[in-house]
Symmetry: C2
Subunit: 285 residues, 2 copies
């Protein structure tokens, strides 16, 4: 496995793969890899000739009071995990290799990005889209794989690919969960053991909502919120950021009655980490 650190090395390598008519898969990560990331690497490996994992904790997607400094890092462990997973290139640039000091260009979206996580993280998705656009130009992938756990992110990236005509296919990888149902996240490591125990509240809430819709036929947003509140009350350390019911693709909120494909998305602040989870539910017609 090659480890590349500069933008120039990365782009040259990718141009060479193109000349050899090899298809390239990209799995962008912020490191501290877990089984969720590795499932994305396997997806990429199935669909392309060579796979690049990028490892970059992107500063432009963190707000001033967010956990950029506390974001967990362990390069050696990540390197071994990528090697074992059959990754061809681990692209691990420094900040100065990614952003010029006087960089001023951004990719922005203000519709899909305005709700859900965008409300409490106003500059987050501009940072995500910008760094992903940069990675797309450096790695020149045919396929890029993103986790469905970041539901709003993958929908924004699909939108960016469509609206800016990137010649890239986006593949979503299903959420990978711990034994107790908690969605895998590098941030889980920053939770106290008590908070980690209570972190099941996200998946439990989604499960209750799904059961209400799919088995009891409840479609009233108000009723679903009240069922969810009962579950949320069981996590004393958690503070709800949002629980939203939105249209799967446009992310437009349902105000009263659910219909069609519904993305149910939840974010909860715990001491040490803000956690997110989601589930797509189809309302029986």
């Amino acid at each position: 496995m090659k480890i590349l650190q500069t933008a120039q090395e990365m782009q040259s390598w990718s141009r060479e793969q193109q000349r050899q008519a090899k298809t390239i898969g990209l799995v962008p990560t912020m490191g501290y890899l877990h089984e969720g990331h590795l499932s994305l690497v396997r997806l990429a490996n199935e669909q392309t000739d060579v796979v690049v994992v990028s490892l970059f904790v992107n500063p432009t997607q963190f707000g001033p009071n967010e956990d950029l400094d506390a974001y967990p890092r362990d390069f050696e462990r990540d390197r071994l995990a990528c090697e074992a997973a059959g990754v061809e290139v681990l692209f691990a640039p420094q900040k100065r290799d990614v952003y010029a000091e006087d960089h001023t260009v951004y990719v922005t979206e203000e519709v899909l990005a305005s709700g859900l996580c965008g409300k409490s993280r106003p500059i987050h998705f501009q940072g995500v889209l910008t760094v992903v656009a940069k990675l797309f130009h450096l790695v020149l992938p045919d396929v890029a794989v993103f986790g469905e756990k970041d539901a709003q992110q993958i929908r924004l990236i699909r939108r960016m690919v469509r609206d800016l005509n990137f010649p890239i296919r986006i593949v979503g990888g299903p959420i990978v969960r711990e034994a107790d149902g908690v969605a895998m996240s590098s941030r889980n490591t920053n939770l106290s053991s008590e908070a980690r125990n209570q972190a099941t509240v996200l998946s439990r809430t989604l499960e209750v909502v799904a059961t209400c819709v799919e088995e009891e036929g409840i479609t009233s947003v108000q009723e679903l919120r009240s069922r969810a509140d009962a579950v949320l009350a069981t996590a004393s350390l958690g503070e709800l950021d949002y629980l939203e019911f939105v249209k799967d693709e446009s992310l437009a909120p349902f105000e009263e009655e659910l219909s069609g494909d519904v993305l149910v998305a939840i974010a909860v602040y715990f001491p040490g980490a803000r956690l997110i989870d989601n589930r797509v539910i189809t309302v029986p017609s």
Copy 2:
């Protein structure tokens, strides 16, 4: 020469050239081609195997009170000019092939874009950068050629290429002028003959400023403005939008004394068309 009209046809053609290891040159235009455009085609032809000219009057770079509808169009003439110039593909999409009805993603820059033309055309450069990013992804050029007449535009595009790591080299083509010194522009056709006569005021102003700096050693912005005013007063139909002295690359304005490489940029409203021109002057040290 092929004429391609859809995004998909264009991208497939370019992918095929890449597979054949041919280098692609792109000359983006809004049509109504003149000798200025054709000089860019020649530059592209010198540097790449195959040249694509795009012809698209991009609505997102026109403000609500600007001349989108009045922008001159003559597809048949443009087709013949491209054919004669040895263009391989004329990419002439319809609006619906370029922008989805619910498109929401833009490329933005708010530093270089804030002065000069950005002041009177606040959404212009967001529209330019967005459509150029789209064209880059559709045509996949190795080299893209832009006219130096649009001085702020080419500097913004170079910045976008740097900041988003596009694998593309940007080449600038020198301003091509009519016999009387007026910079060629598709918009010149919208001037009355009296306004067309007075349009020499832009290049005459730049010429006077250059002479003042290079031969008389004047570097005071105030003094240069007063020399320029005397020339501007000769064009009764023109209304000055701006005459600015800025650093060549950062576009930061000189407030008092010029030094180093100075971009002198001018924009004048005439009935029927707003005209621009510019000149880079190096202050003798």
